[in-house]
């Protein structure tokens, strides 16, 4: 707000004071929101760290198992067993609210299957196929869990950044400018009052002189 655009009127001063009060209240609320979001973020960060560790572990296990299965059964055996599975996992996407931030809640079904539901027969396959299928089912489960946590973390980070920008804007731009404008109006009004007083004194002096 450039000072030249400010009208030095009493009503403008009242309006500015109201705006300053509102901005300060907004600033405090946003600061609290930012701090709350940071706290939430650290909680999610801890979960994300665990989830990434677990994801890496399960990925390594799945890669190891598929290598063993390919070595043991051959890619032909693995591909033939893989053709038994037709059903793909279903994912239900819900939403939850963390301090005004909408984050996803992912629910998955039919990822982990029992030995009977996998579609291949028990008598024509070996245990390594079971172990590989289990390793990959666990990996998919962990990916879904990690997707939820990582998206939550990303959205929280965006919101923290956004809130931080708003807090900074209020703290360093909006409130100082409003205060400056208010100070300017106050000074201008005082100045105008003094001018008015001086003018009145001058008129009074002139009229007294004329009377004398």
């Amino acid at each position: 707000m450039a000072l030249k655009d400010v009208k030095p009127t009493r009503s403008e001063l009242i309006g500015l004071k109201r705006k300053i009060k509102l901005s300060e209240r907004g600033y405090n609320i946003l600061k609290m929101k930012r701090d709350g979001l940071i706290l939430e973020f650290f909680k999610v960060l801890e979960e994300a760290k665990n989830s990434r560790g677990s994801l890496q572990e399960r990925y390594n296990r799945a890669v190891e198992m598929i290598a063993i299965a390919n070595t043991f059964e051959g890619a032909i055996g693995v591909k033939a067993a893989a053709m038994s599975v037709k059903e793909t996992p279903e994912i239900t996407l819900k939403q939850k609210n963390i301090m005004g931030v909408v984050v996803p809640e992912i629910e998955s079904s039919r990822v982990r299957k029992g030995l009977r539901e996998r579609g291949y027969g028990l008598l024509g396959t070996s245990a390594v196929i079971d172990e590989t299928a289990t390793a990959f089912e666990e990996l998919v489960e962990e990916i879904i869990k990690a997707a939820e946590i990582e998206t939550t973390m990303k959205r929280l980070l965006n919101e923290i950044e956004h809130t931080k920008r708003r807090v900074n804007a209020l703290e360093f731009k909006v409130i100082p400018e409003l205060t400056e404008a208010s100070t300017f109006i106050k000074m201008r009004l005082d100045e105008m009052e003094r001018e008015e007083l001086f003018r009145l004194k001058k008129i009074k002096a002139k009229s007294q002189k004329a009377e004398a």
Partner: protein
């Protein structure tokens, strides 16, 4: 196989040819040398052996590890087909019966692939026509466009009665698992009846098949246990082993792992694999025990073939040894591709 000939001449002829072929298989030293080679060196090494023609033939269509694997499978199929050609009379029928597990595997792969809408070319890549159903017949099955028509094309084959009985249920549940189990149960039941039909060496081979059935049942009990499958498991067990199906069901519901293994070890027929069962108690992965058992079974078969040199045993031992040669070469190539340590690959070799 009712009119089984007991004359010795065909046995001597076929067994001699099998011994010659067995002598040509790769020795243990070659596998140990290959453990220190890279994948390209292994491919070159394989190309210099019996697999040259397949590597050359498939070189334009496949490359790298896929070339090795497909070439090995093609060679196995070709070799088995040749053996079917040179075995006369009852021996031919028995060998055919023994190789029928490949027919089941190929048929199921086609059935599943077609059911899932996989392209015929991709299904063909994973077929190993090592049984009675040759490449032409399997190609014909691949041209059929529905599961029902594929099954109909099997009319007159030994698998057909089971297919006819189980297919409606499989289509209804959208799972071929039960069908697959029934086909393998049928395979073992027919194999047992063929063994008992008077083929020379059949009675000794009968004990071997029973041991295989026992191990498969025990292995599957462990798989079901680790997969937390509860309830009636009778339909998942192969009959005619040392355990009755009801006994297996009773063992399956035992909750304590120690009692579970103790109950299995009580069976006299499984004395020879007691050590392996102890390994299971020590939580060793089942797939590692499976390799140990394969080695044990192969050694057992080798022993039988030496004890009964003019019988079906030398033929079967060659069929098995050839299968494991292919499996070992594939394990070496795949293991190298996956950067598995040499010691680990060695533990997966059946030598």
């Amino acid at each position: 196989m009712a009119d089984v000939s007991t004359r010795l001449a065909p046995y001597v002829y076929v067994c001699t040819r099998m011994r010659v072929r067995k002598a040509k298989l790769l020795p243990r030293e070659d596998y140990l040398r290959m453990l220190n080679m890279s994948l390209t060196e292994i491919t070159r090494f394989i190309e210099e052996t019996e697999y040259k023609s397949e590597i050359d033939e498939l070189g334009s269509s496949f490359s790298g590890i896929d070339l090795v694997e497909v070439a090995l499978s093609w060679n196995l199929a070709k070799e088995y087909q040749k053996i079917l050609e040179i075995t006369p009379g009852a021996l031919h029928l028995f060998t055919q019966s023994y190789l029928r597990r490949w027919d089941i595997q190929n048929f199921l792969t086609i059935l599943r692939g077609k059911h899932q809408g996989v392209a015929a070319g991709r299904i063909k890549e994973v077929l190993i026509p090592a049984g009675k159903l040759d490449r032409e017949f399997l190609d014909r099955l691949l041209t059929e466009d529905s599961v029902e028509r594929i099954t109909e094309a099997m009319r007159g084959k030994r698998l057909y009665p089971v297919l006819e009985r189980e297919l409606p249920g499989a289509l209804e549940t959208k799972s071929f698992a039960r069908l697959e189990n029934e086909l393998y149960k049928g395979f073992y039941s027919e194999l047992l009846s063929d063994v008992k039909s008077g083929v020379k060496g059949g009675s000794v081979f009968l004990a071997y098949i029973r041991l295989e059935i026992d191990f498969m049942n025990v292995r599957n009990l462990f798989r079901l246990r680790s997969g937390a499958v509860e309830g009636d498991i009778r339909d998942l067990m192969i009959p005619d082993g040392s355990f009755s199906i009801d006994e297996l069901q009773r063992i399956a519901v035992i909750e304590n792992a120690g009692d579970f293994i103790d109950e299995i070890q009580k069976k006299a027929g499984l004395k020879s694999i007691t050590g392996l069962l102890e390994d299971l108690r020590n939580h060793r992965p089942i797939h590692e025990i499976e390799i140990e058992l394969t080695r044990f079974m192969l050694a057992e078969m080798e022993r039988l073939s030496k004890r009964y040199p003019v019988s079906i045993c030398p033929i079967l031992v060659y069929l098995e040894k050839k299968k494991y040669e292919v499996q070992n070469l594939r394990a070496l190539a795949r293991g190298k591709e996956s950067n598995l340590p040499a010691e680990r690959i060695k533990s997966y070799l059946v030598v």
